[in-house]
Symmetry: C2
């Protein structure tokens, strides 16, 4: 397999610092199948993400799903490309406690610079806690600072 | 105006600790109009929320929107009630830098224990950076630990 470069691979392979937001969420790349457009990631939910009941606030689950669909697409892009998430739709199925949270993301369809994405988060018992669909746009890396 | 109590008002009025997740997002209640079902909040986005371009990662904007629609509904509830967000749909309009981010949330419609909510986040220049719609369920406070 050829060496992949670019902002995503440089980050997960240690050639560039992991982005601050990803580090805050305890993001970790577990596996990526670039040809299939699938990615497996994990997050470390801390007590700082919890609601008064001690569960991870859905706010942070939405954040983790955003940081699952984005990397699923980023992993498939060239070194001079980046992506901008246009919309994210999250369904909250089950509560989850702080600790390890797994994520699976997938590029469902690419149509030119538009991509349709989906992701799920699961707890250590592999129960699905949240699901998401998203749309994103592939952009030149140089446009990333001006993108939402 | 009568004294309001319950998990939301106790938190924002200092009678109970602010929930960890809200503190992490720098949540602050600015104003709430319980009769109109509207709320005005603010967040403090730190460098820990940023992407490599230095903008706040949309992940954390989604988190802030979750923590705007929820409080909009919570503010209208009785002291023995809580809410569970079922679904959150976020649109990302503009990039925003770390710092002050304002939020406005609204209960659009209540139908029994279901609530339809909406929210926007804006930057210091009052430009809208993200929008969201959400659906939530009103639940007894005792059921909060088992709710998503």
């Amino acid at each position: 397999m050829r060496q992949r470069t670019g902002p995503f691979w440089d980050g997960v392979q240690g050639r560039a610092p992991i982005p601050p937001a990803a580090a805050t969420l305890g993001f970790e790349l577990v596996d990526a199948d670039v040809e299939a457009g699938t990615i497996e990631v994990a997050f470390a939910a801390t007590e700082a993400f919890t609601n008064p009941a001690g569960n991870v606030l859905g706010a942070f689950l939405a954040a983790m799903l955003y940081d699952t669909v984005g990397p699923a697409l980023l992993a498939t892009l060239g070194p001079d490309q980046f992506q901008s998430t246009l919309q994210l739709n999250v369904g909250f199925l089950r509560p989850v406690r702080p600790g390890w949270i797994g994520g699976r993301g997938r590029v469902v369809h690419r149509d030119g610079d538009l991509a349709f994405l989906e992701a799920t988060l699961h707890d250590p018992a592999r129960a699905v806690v949240t699901t998401a669909t998203a749309t994103a746009r592939v952009i030149p890396l140089g446009e990333a600072p001006a993108a939402a």
